[in-house]
């Protein structure tokens, strides 16, 4: 009962704080000229950018409350909060300094350090069909790579209005059965606070977007997802539920020959025809999930997001199915 009341309180706090911050930052950033162009609209509107700071601050304040309410988990919660904040900081650095496609993956693993240093990670990840593996030496370098991959995949999926926050909510929910089956109930309030801080941002970011989260938003989200999966030893289940994110990442890396920022690509993967997006037929254009979804016919932005959500939902179900196969 106490757990439920405390979770409800921190969740409501995260939601209200995030809503107020996103609304305030939207107007403030517009006045300050911190904006980005919505390239998938015909009139190319200027939209306030880096509003992802709002959900990050709301999540942090909510976790501070959880740290006070659950002193037995305070170290883990503080480490998760620091991990998410460091992820956001990497994104903010990229927003301000433009780190480029090679530098960003190199400094992303920094976000894993609070969890590693605090001793909250156990080098025994739960693998589908295999069970808990003992990886006492290999685990630590692998977890750094894991953070890089998850953070940058989340960043790459933030391509269309509302695509990243909505699909991340599905990914987060697909982790809940894993937390229950592995008896990590104490992490559920953290997940609830995270979703509550993302929801208001999604409301403003959905088509037609009124705000952009910037790299600060997507890297914070990616660092949190990697952190919660590592803390609960559900790394591989997160990988399965994020398959559509990796398809984009893998295809860009493979077809563009390494990590590339959108502006660093010679040929755009998609073209704009009025309000419709279609795959670029040029053979040198990289193949992304958006290009694949629009390969047969041009589609509106919200149609593509809806289909991407469907793919994420299928991945989430496959992740839960893998979990059940492991426990049966």
């Amino acid at each position: 009962m106490v757990l439920f009341v405390a979770s409800a309180f921190s969740t409501v706090l995260a939601f209200i704080t995030s809503f107020l911050l996103v609304r305030t930052l939207k107007n403030r950033f517009l006045k300050l000229g911190i904006t980005g162009i919505d390239v998938h609209k015909q009139d190319k509107p200027e939209i306030p950018e880096r509003v992802g700071i709002g959900p990050l601050m709301a999540f942090t304040s909510s976790i501070c409350v959880l740290v006070v309410l659950f002193p037995q988990s305070s170290i883990l919660f503080s480490a998760l909060m620091s991990t998410a904040s460091l992820g956001g900081l990497v994104g903010l650095l990229d927003d301000v300094l433009d780190l480029g496609g090679k530098m960003k993956p190199l400094i992303s693993p920094m976000a894993a350090l609070p969890l590693i240093i605090s001793g909250c990670l156990s080098p025994r990840p739960l693998l589908p069909l295999v069970g808990h593996a003992r990886m006492y030496y290999v685990y630590w370098p692998l977890i750094l790579i894991f953070f890089t991959v998850i953070m940058n995949a989340t960043n790459m999926a933030d391509a269309l209005n509302g695509m990243m926050p909505s699909s991340v909510i599905i990914v987060t929910l697909s982790l809940v059965p894993g937390l229950i089956l592995t008896k990590k109930y104490h992490l559920i309030p953290v997940l609830a606070a995270f979703i509550a801080s993302i929801l208001p941002y999604y409301w403003y970011n959905k088509y037609p977007a009124k705000v952009f989260g910037g790299n600060v938003g997507s890297m914070f989200v990616g660092a949190f997802l990697a952190g919660i999966a590592a803390a609960s030893n559900l790394e591989m289940f997160l990988v399965i539920s994020m398959l559509p994110f990796f398809i984009t990442g893998f295809m860009i890396i493979y077809s563009a020959g390494g990590f590339r920022e959108r502006r660093e690509m010679k040929k755009r993967p998609t073209l704009l025809e009025g309000d419709l997006i279609r795959a670029n037929p040029d053979e040198e254009a990289p193949m992304t999930i958006i290009a694949i979804l629009t390969s047969d016919r041009p589609k509106r932005e919200y149609e593509i997001v809806r289909e991407f959500l469907m793919l994420t939902l299928i991945s989430g179900i496959l992740s839960i199915a893998s979990l059940l196969l492991t426990f049966l």
Binding site: L129, V130, A133, I240, P244, I247, M287, I292, S295, R297
Partner: protein
Amino acid sequence: MDRGLALGIFLVFSGWGLVLLALILIKIMILPYTSFHGRGLLEMVYAALRVAVSLIAFGFSLVAWYYVTRAAFRRILLSRQQPSK
């Protein structure tokens, strides 16, 4: 359902298959050899070979997955560009 979405769904299921393949390879080829304690040189060489075979099998599947997807993607794009008869 159009072919683009169908290809997306195929990619998710085949991606899941790839992850499971990697885990099956880990389970049957690598995990029995996680400890070299008390094993002879021949067994260590045998274990290293199994790891190499697993990596090659997984790498080959990943590259095949990419090229099958790329071929299907190009085919859809080309069929769209050709005028219908």
